[in-house]
């Protein structure tokens, strides 16, 4: 007997991969349905190690999927729902074409719906898994919440996104989970910490919707992502609210509807408006403290005491940050974007209100005497109160990032603002150039230094100016001075020759030569360097070279900055001179 001949690609890489077309054929789905299914189930195309073998010898580059992935998809009950959709569409299309409106209505009332709960559970077996993947979800939901109704996007999707995101913001406010904010030209970057997971998301600026060309982005695809993410965010909200002892569809005990208000809007709209205002605390299911103080263990085995100390300091800082705006009362002027500021201020325990006509939910008036800060974004105002600071919105963002209330004087109305720096840069980078403003943000000593430097700069400028005036007068006196100094030098030489003649000299106290120590250290260091094993020598060398190079870069940038500042200083001086001359 001859052994059965082995067929090509029956095993190995050729058997592990499947082209998209083959997958469509196997699953009996259309391309649109397949893409939708893949997105919902989290199946991605793969790149093979050997493309030629994976494509079974076919030329070109094809989109490949793992055979196991496709088999996994095959067991998904949703596929049947997708097929139902197909049938439903055919029925509806026929009824519409023959104008059979009775059955059309019947079909439309009983349309098939996709239920995605089990997929959320399957893809994220634990709550933490879901939190870990929240970045994408939040960003897309926030983005879609700003959209009007567009073709290829379900009509109620943007409203649903809006509702869910606002509810999430409420959860963040209640948990005091926000850590960092950054306002970029693209949008607002927020970073929160929920259950120890760092979650970052982007919220677009509150400008009008700009239409998008279809060539760039596949709207249908993105809306499928959003379809899944809305379900996911809904369940996360539910869980978050319950872990914070809140009612899930949020309720308010503080506000209740008046009779005249009842005549204007129904209760549902009334509540949803208050939810969108972000200004009222959500009522709790029980009054008990849900969050106990977390104490750090002192008997940690791995960490060194310094690390424990560091962690303690960090925890203390975060605790302070949570109550950053406690006791402060803000009033937001109408030109300032309301939602981000209300969200941030409420996250850190502040009280906020705004103009009554701007949005519902204003809790106090501009005339309220207890307002401590009014946030304005215009160069000047007619009517001002003495009892409050008029500051620009950046003060709020910078204070949050600095984890302390910054001095307000730099952020007063009409002032040129200090730069708004990104809080997302690794603070422990010692081998990178850090501009002095940023350095000042992270340690108060540098801030003082910076202030001092600026003051001295101003003073020195004045001094210099005075000097220049004096110079002209003094030019005659200089010659006389020079003669005097020469005489003094001769006298000193005479004294020194006399001292040498004395025989008895006082014993010299042993003085530590300052450079001796460093010299010794350097020698020791070099010896230690020699101990580096041959195996690691090259690595060590390249490391040191890299370090040196980075140091050089830092030095270069510092120099640039210095030169730039000097140039600016001179320009200022010139300006002042010109002003003086004109006066």
């Amino acid at each position: 007997m001859v052994a059965k001949r082995k067929k090509k690609y029956a095993s190995g890489e050729g058997a592990h991969f499947m082209t998209r077309k083959a997958a469509l054929k196997k699953l009996q789905l259309s391309l649109n349905d397949f893409r939708r299914l893949c997105i919902l189930k989290g199946i991605y195309p793969r790149e093979p190690r050997n493309r030629k073998r994976a494509q079974k010898g076919q030329a070109g580059i094809k989109t490949l999927y793992h055979v196991k992935d496709i088999q996994f998809l095959m067991h998904e009950p949703i596929i049947w729902r997708l097929r139902d959709y197909k049938i439903f569409n055919k029925k509806v299309g026929r009824a519409r074409a023959v104008k059979d409106f009775e059955s059309l209505k019947k079909y439309l009332n009983n349309h098939p719906t996709l239920k995605l709960d089990h997929i959320v559970k399957e893809r994220y077996p634990t709550f933490l898994d879901a939190l870990r993947d929240l970045d994408d979800c939040l960003t897309l939901c926030f983005l879609f919440s700003t959209f009007p109704s567009i073709a290829h996007v379900p009509r109620d999707q943007s409203a649903l996104c809006r509702r869910l995101t606002i509810e999430f913001l409420h959860a963040v406010i209640e948990a005091k989970a926000l850590r960092k904010v950054f306002v970029s030209i693209k949008g607002y970057y927020y970073q929160a910490e929920i259950k120890g997971e760092t979650i970052t998301w982007i919220v677009p600026h509150h400008f009008s919707f700009e239409p998008q060309s279809r060539a760039e982005v596949d709207f249908k695809l993105m809306s499928t992502f959003v379809e899944f993410y809305t379900v996911m965010l809904g369940f996360i909200n539910f869980r978050l609210y319950h872990s914070l002892n809140l009612f899930y569809p949020p309720k308010f005990s503080v506000v209740s509807q008046n009779d005249d208000e009842k005549s204007i809007v129904d209760e549902e709209v009334f509540v949803s408006e208050r939810v969108a205002a972000l200004n009222f605390p959500v009522s709790k299911t029980s009054s008990g403290e849900e969050e106990e103080e977390v104490e750090i263990d002192t008997f940690s085995t791995e960490d060194t005491p310094e690390k424990i100390e560091e962690a303690k300091i960090e925890a203390e800082k975060i605790k302070n940050l949570k109550g950053l705006f406690k006791g402060l009362k803000f009033f937001i002027n109408r030109e300032v974007p309301r939602e981000p500021l209300v969200f941030i201020i409420r996250c850190f325990g502040g009280e906020v209100s705004w103009d009554k006509l701007l949005f519902v939910g204003a809790s106090f008036d501009e005339n309220d005497e207890s307002v401590t800060h009014q946030i304005v974004d215009r160069p000047s105002m007619d009517k001002q109160f003495i009892s409050r600071y008029y500051i620009q919105p950046q003060w709020v963002f910078d204070s949050v990032n600095a984890r302390q209330l910054l001095p307000v004087n730099k952020y007063f109305m009409g002032e040129v603002l200090p730069p708004h720096l990104s809080p997302f840069i690794d603070k422990s980078r010692d081998q990178q150039y850090i501009p002095p403003e940023e350095k000042a943000l992270y340690d108060p000593e540098a801030l003082e230094e910076l202030h001092k430097k600026q003051e001295t700069d101003d003073e020195s400028e004045e001094e210099e100016q005075e000097d220049e005036k004096l110079e002209a007068e003094d030019s005659e006196k200089v010659d006389e001075d020079e003669e005097d100094t020469e005489d003094e030098e001769e006298e000193e030489e005479g004294e020194s020759t006399k001292k040498k003649k004395l025989k008895v000299t006082p014993g010299e106290v042993y003085k530590e030569v300052p450079w001796e120590k460093s010299k010794q250290e350097r020698q020791e260091y070099k010896l230690r360097e020699k101990l580096v094993k041959n195996k690691h020598r090259k690595l060590y060398k390249s490391m040191m070279a890299g370090r040196q190079q980075r140091a050089k870069e830092i030095w270069l940038l510092r120099k640039k900055r210095r030169l730039h500042e000097e140039k600016q200083k001179e320009e200022r001086k010139k300006k002042k001179k010109v002003e003086k001359q004109t006066t």
Binding site: F182, I185, V217, D218, G234, H420
Partner: protein, 442 residues
């Protein structure tokens, strides 16, 4: 021949009905009938009518003011206009008094049965089918109401009591099986797919500090520098491509190109004058490959060849044995060689590892279309106003997200396909040809 004054009536046979109809004059009867029909249609002739019938005294005001609401209501009371077609449009009565019509099911029913049914219904006795329908309706409505609506979240899907089914380390397989026996849950433990993260890249890339709405001078310069560097790279690439392709070829005029083409194409063709001479000289057939000849070696030659081969083998063996001896003395150099190749392999291995790590950060090749990265968003110096109110927005978040998904290998890069419209050939049917304008009516 005298002409007859009056044509004599020709006698015709009126035997059949057809000929009877043909030759009898019934004009007067028809006229009368026509008049009658007209009368039926339009009413009696005016002469016969009295003054009262013809005229009426106008008592009502000429213009009636009817509100639009009333008019609408009135129109609503009128039969719909779509039924106008069904109304008879003449006053002529239907000649067929009794038209056949399919009676409805209700009409067809026997009176006795009808009576019985009414009695039953009054008593509250329903048919099985009707009862079933009512029951189904109720169930369906209940189901519809209980179904969670879109955007309604009423359960914690990460419930704690569901953990039994998960294959966690706390319970043995048998315990799980035992406990799940009567619960109706799936007892089979499904091997969960190893979920490989599609990319090492973060979901949201941290923004460059120069992208702040009010950046510090250094950060902004740094950002501009990176953007400029990228742009320069693209320009350089483009220039290179131009240099290598477009600029390599000299340009010629169209006329010259044509003449060159003709020259090129006629290369190798023999001119007519030379052709004749060649054909005459070698007219006979000559094969390209001459036929082979089977030459045999002689016995002597064969013997000598054998001897040579033996000698060669011996020589080779001697050489090998000699080399074995000399190799012992060459151990040092051999070792060196081995070391050299090993060190080379090591370097290569390291380099490969490094490249692999670098490659992990790059998007994978998932489709025939290559991934293209978006440009960095930046504000030029004058655009930076330094306050939130007059900030200039840059970049599109949706595009950025879309590209990020592509970059993280979640979706494959693709281009929008436009279905090509099929080319329709338009022609006129021969019957509709308007040739006659040019041919006949000339």
């Amino acid at each position: 021949m005298a002409k007859p004054v009056m044509k004599k009536k020709k006698r015709v046979s009126k035997k059949s009905k057809l000929s009877w109809r043909k030759h009898v004059n019934i004009n007067d009867v028809e006229e009368f009938l026509e008049d009658q029909r007209l009368e039926e249609r339009l009413g009696p002739p005016l002469e016969t009518l009295t003054d009262d019938q013809l005229f009426k005294v106008d008592v009502e005001p000429s213009k009636q003011t009817v509100s639009s609401k009333e008019r609408k209501r009135k129109r609503f009371l009128e039969p719909p206009r779509c039924f106008a077609v069904l109304q008879p449009h003449t006053k002529v009565p239907d000649p067929i008094r009794k038209r056949n019509r399919v009676r409805t099911k209700e009409e067809r029913k026997n009176d006795l049965i009808k009576k019985k049914e009414a009695e039953n219904r009054a008593k509250g006795i329903w048919k099985h089918r009707e009862l079933q329908a009512i029951r189904d309706q109720k169930v369906n409505e209940e189901r519809k109401q209980n179904d969670p609506k879109r955007g309604e979240f009423v359960q914690n899907i990460w419930d704690a009591d569901d953990q039994l089914t998960e294959n966690n380390g706390w319970f043995s397989k048998n315990t799980v099986k035992h406990n799940l026996a009567g619960t109706g849950k799936i007892r089979k433990t499904v091997k969960d797919l190893k979920k490989i993260k599609s990319s090492v890249l973060p979901t949201i890339e941290m923004p460059h500090p120069g992208m702040s709405y009010n950046p510090s001078y250094d950060d902004h310069q740094d950002l501009l520098k990176t953007v400029a560097e990228k742009e320069m790279k693209i320009i350089k690439e483009e220039e290179h491509l131009n240099r290598v392709t477009r600029d390599m070829f000299s340009k010629v005029t169209a006329k010259k190109r044509d003449s060159m083409w003709l020259q090129e194409m006629s290369q190798g063709l023999q001119s007519a004058s030379t052709n004749d001479n060649d054909n005459e000289s070698d007219s006979e057939y000559k094969a390209l490959n001459p036929p082979t000849k089977n030459k045999k070696k002689t016995l002597q030659q064969r013997r000598k060849q054998q001897e040579q081969m033996q000698l060669e083998l011996l020589k080779r063996a001697a050489k090998l044995s000699k080399k074995k001896i000399s190799d012992i003395h060459q151990l040092k150099t051999l070792n060196k060689q081995i070391d050299k190749t090993e060190s080379k392999a090591k370097i290569l291995r390291e380099r490969r590892l490094k490249n692999l790590l670098l490659k992990k950060k790059e998007p994978k090749r998932l489709s025939a279309i290559k991934f293209e990265e978006t440009e960095l968003d930046f504000n030029m110096g004058p655009d930076i106003t330094g306050n939130l109110r007059s900030l200039k927005k840059e970049g599109n978040l949706l595009t950025e997200r879309f590209k990020s998904l592509q970059k993280r290998n979640v979706i494959e890069p693709s281009v929008r396909r436009r279905r090509k419209k099929s080319k329709v050939k338009v022609y006129t049917k021969p019957g509709h040809k308007e040739d006659w304008i040019t041919t006949v009516a000339r």
